[in-house]
Symmetry: C2
Subunit: 265 residues, 2 copies
């Protein structure tokens, strides 16, 4: 029987605020079976970068990763955030192993090609080392993955954590029945942004496109849904957008679906 | 037959200067068989700490690790330095895996007891996870270890990299024939500090104590020799103090010995 794998993506305020983080990690540590945590760095990289005199570089409205920024995100994501998550998970009895894409060559990327904008040291994922990740999971390790990748030639890259979660889910769906959960500070995709109780149970790609065009979904939700639908299309069993408290139960949040059940009749 | 394991400790200028680092990593990548790299952070933690407004805290002449300093060393050692080493080793075909003591719970420490000085978040090693390190080595991974440990209750610690190298060597000497090499910027222990060619081939504990009392060895050499002799006494096969270029050959440097061969006649 094919085993189950839960991939949780966390970021933003969830990893920055002590209490929400502790709840999240406790709930994560209680998930049975194979699991992977993928984290972002919230605004910490910006705060620390500013203190170091590294200003966010913008080109045509896009944030780019120059050499100084790469150093900052490597320090903050792979050092500060990752090792704090690992030590806190160890305290909860979860055998966490902090990784970047460079460690054991688990995620290779290539520099994003320059079309209109040179994003600098931003990497697009080109390979996930399925065999190595399976070996780690089989040995009971719980990978905690920072959004830093490498090209195999000694260059590190900044890679979006939502994308990493999605690419891992896609690659590992050949070996596991994968549930991919994007955790953020809302209960799910909301019909009405001001009403936390207006969570949409299911959303299709078409509905997402529609909501995007009307501005009903925006900001950080867009990459989650975009990478989430990409994962669904490529064989990931289940993709959910929700908040941390949903991890402790089996219900809640917004399920991404390729089509609604009733459309299937 | 008992397998061989080479543990290399590097630090200081070696990891800071691009050229010496590249030579070191190339030589390290050529070492056959089981190997572990333990690194310090050189002066980078101080430089970055100062930029962040974190001043080195001294109490009675001793450097202490307060909470801000712990954050800085976690960022710099486990993030910036560690991941750069890992990605560069991957480029050289070495399957590097960056670790702190918290990852897979490989090195537990406890807060250094307050006697005269409260060192803050400085951890003394209490346990090395021999089984886990053996599993990693058997699977062909090359651990690259940052000098950060944890207590198993969610607290990270700053731990001296020379001590980590020595404790790893001692713990793993029950499973491997261990060679421990402290790499620094001199060819070995020098009879005359101003003469790079006055390398002492062998040094005993008594000779070290004598040289310490006359000031003939000082600074960073003292913890290397102290932790090195501790390793020798506790069953480590061979301990050498040398520079990086010695890694490519089998000769060079100063060997720590419990007694000179001729004394044994």
């Amino acid at each position: 029987m094919i085993e189950h794998l839960t991939i949780i993506k966390v970021g933003g305020k969830l990893v920055e605020e002590k209490e929400s983080l502790q709840t999240l990690l406790r709930d994560f540590s209680r998930i049975a079976g194979n699991k992977i945590l993928v984290h972002g760095g919230g605004s910490m990289a910006t705060t620390i970068g500013e203190k170091l005199g590294v200003k966010p570089k913008m080109v045509e409205g896009r944030r780019i990763t120059d050499e100084d920024t790469l150093q900052v995100v490597t320090m903050v994501y792979a050092g500060l955030v990752n090792k704090n998550l690992v030590s806190k998970l160890q305290a909860l009895g979860t055998n966490a192993l902090g990784l970047t894409g460079a460690d054991l060559d688990i995620i290779r990327a290539k520099k994003r090609p320059v079309v209109d904008v040179d994003y600098g040291f931003v990497g697009d994922v080109v390979n996930v080392n399925n065999r190595m990740l399976r070996e780690l999971l089989m040995n009971g390790a719980v990978p905690v993955i920072a959004p830093i990748t490498h090209d195999g030639d000694g260059q590190l890259f900044n890679t979006n954590a939502d994308t990493i979660a999605s690419e891992l889910a896609i690659a590992l769906s050949s070996s596991y029945r994968v549930t991919l959960i994007y955790c953020f500070d809302k209960r799910g995709v909301l019909m009405d942004e001001s009403d936390e109780n207006s969570v949409i149970d299911e959303i299709t790609m078409a509905e997402f496109e529609e909501m995007k065009s009307t501005g009903a979904v925006n900001g950080g939700m867009i990459p989650k849904l975009t990478t989430g639908f990409n994962a669904m299309k490529k064989g990931v069993d289940s993709v959910v957008v929700t908040n941390a408290s949903a991890l402790s139960g089996s219900k809640g949040g917004t399920n991404l679906v390729l089509f609604h059940e009733e459309e299937d009749e």
